[in-house]
């Protein structure tokens, strides 16, 4: 098992012919991911190191059997690329692109959410199920297979926490970066629900950061629904008060959005919160031996 990506993943990279898309797409293939196609409008018929390139995602699905897409196209075209993947019946769409306007994502996410397709990202590092498939930019060599699920808003903290876990030989079932955008395709709860149903996952580490109320909502969900232990980390205890939204933003969040408020909410739901990435791995060890 594991979630979202595995040995059955047949990956199409939207933007495979671009510099970053090529580098990371081929890196994913070297990891063992079944990279079946690339899509770049106008470059259909060519190939990238033997991977066929199509003009449309629909062709990548019918001709190459793609079932998962990684979106690596520039921000002005990325929301459209996500919708194209959804329209072509791709059920797992992983959008790496950073800087997509929130208006575009609001439309795309509302549309996709109306039925069960899974959109991860945008502005995220992707998803890796160690030993099975890597879709995104998470460095595969720091991961190892095992029973820990990981879900994080921050990309680089995925790497850092995985690194800490792997050093303690705590392998991972799947690591998911949900991204830091205002409107993510999936939030903590969507991914926690997947882990809750996954036989290969024994414990989940969730990594949050300041701003918004996604962690607080996840804490409430864990308390009511999660049957597996959860350990958390929150970044930003000493972060300056940066650009804040207007007053209206603070109201709907129903929280101050600070790291301490989040840590309190998590702890109140019975979730232990590590004070630094190393301590998170230590808490995971403790939780598993208790």
């Amino acid at each position: 098992m594991s979630i979202l990506v595995d040995n059955n993943t047949k990956l199409v990279v939207q933007g495979l012919t671009g510099r970053e898309g090529r580098f990371h797409g081929l890196r994913n293939r070297n990891y063992g991911t079944d990279l079946v196609a690339g899509v770049t409008p106008g470059k259909g018929g060519s190939d990238v190191e033997g991977v066929p390139v199509f003009d449309t995602v629909a062709e990548a699905v019918t001709e190459a059997g793609a079932n998962t897409s990684m979106v690596f196209v520039p921000p002005p075209f990325a929301a459209d690329a996500i919708l194209e993947a959804y329209d072509a019946a791709i059920d797992t769409i992983i959008a790496i692109t950073e800087g997509i306007p929130a208006m575009d994502m609001a439309r795309a996410v509302s549309y996709i959410k109306s039925d069960g397709a899974m959109l991860i990202g945008p502005n995220c590092p992707g998803v890796i199920s160690p030993g099975k498939a890597n879709v995104g930019i998470i460095p595969g060599e720091v991961c190892e297979p095992g029973p820990i699920g990981l879900v994080s808003r921050s990309g680089t903290l995925v790497y850092q926490i995985v690194h800490e876990l792997s050093q303690k030989h705590l392998g991972q079932s799947t690591c998911v970066g949900i991204g830091g955008d205002p409107i993510p395709g999936s939030d903590f709860i969507d991914v926690l629900a997947e882990f809750n149903e996954d036989d290969d996952t024994e414990l989940v580490v969730m990594v949050g950061e300041i701003g918004g109320d996604a962690e607080e909502r996840a804490a409430a969900w864990v308390k009511d629904h999660m049957t597996k232990p959860v350990v958390a980390y929150i970044a930003g205890f000493t972060a300056p008060e940066g650009k804040r939204m207007g007053h209206a933003g603070a109201i709907i969040s129903g929280s101050k959005g600070t790291a301490s408020a989040k840590a309190e909410a998590l702890e109140a739901a019975g979730i232990r919160v590590g004070r630094n990435p190393t301590e998170v791995a230590e808490l995971v060890v403790e939780a598993r031996s208790s």
Binding site: P75, P139, R153, S154, G155, G212, G246, H247, N276
Partner: protein, 383 residues
Amino acid sequence: MDLFEYQGKELLRRFEVPVPEGRVASSADEAERAAAGLGGKVIVKAQVQVGGRGKAGGIKVADSPQEARAVADQILGMDIKGHVVKRVLVERAGDIKEEYYLSFLVDRSERKFLGMMSAEGGVEIEQVAEENPDAIARVHVDPTIGISDFHARRLVFGAKLNPEARKGAIAMIPKLYRAFVELDASLVEVNPLVLTGDGKVVALDAKVTLDESADYRHSNFAELKSAHEVPEQERLAKSKGLNFIKLDGDVGIIGNGAGLVMSTLDVVKAAGGEPANFLDVGGGAQAEVLSNAIEVITSDPGVKSIFLNIFGGITRGDLVAEGIVDAFGRLDVTIPIVVRLDGTNAEEGRKMLADAPHDMLHSEDTMLGAARRAVELARGGAE
């Protein structure tokens, strides 16, 4: 990007949202001319991006152009909670009967747009939310469908607006929504929205926040932005593609990804140090970006050591190392830089650093170890 009131109102006017007639002025002379042009009684309002300007004396009424000149002279240059007033908005004064609240924003948790309206305007909406949450009507708008008249009716009737204001408010709501969407705003807030003596509904204030990710499709964003002042070091950092925020400590921080940088600040603080800044080189940083980051941090004489914490994903360790080596070659680096490098191509990067030793270059294997080392070095350096 948060806009000034006068900028927000100019934009709302294009969407036919009723706003008072007014002109922006950056000197007492200009304020006098603006008042003369408008005729009659005017209000002179400080243009600052901070709440509570009225209480601070930043909003004054003037009965004549001469008086407008005098109050503008008082307000310009005033320091309101650390914000110096560079401009005033001179507006025709109206007869206010009642004050309301209206806004549209992106609701992160519902992944939809949220409209909010209250008959209790003019005060901080957070206060209304806390003391009398039922006084705020809320309606979600599905971005794929857009606004429909019923949304406006739900807000207006839900907020129990004075029947006299209903028609004007119901007409205004879709206009404000259109402005919100077409401007690529993350917030448009009108507080207060007022009912005038002659029965009109007018946006007396405007707070507009634009989504900078959408700047490529708005030719006016750059101009709107040019009215905003940014501290010199932050401006320099931004011009070099770095996300930088100045803090008060002496341990310079450079990292990749906002989450890891925030975590780095936390561990430096926990190790007994005080971070001097937040600096995120972003994803996929090239050598030049790293080199520039080091330049920006070392330009601050208050920084005593630097902790450079990179965990490469899309960022490549070899390019990071290239940037560090370049910075040491190009700049006269006199403070220690502690480097912790992991992730994509980290081994190549570490080897490149080992091959280019420098007295001020320290490598550490772990994030916590590197944090402790950087803090020690900032204190004057037990090795």
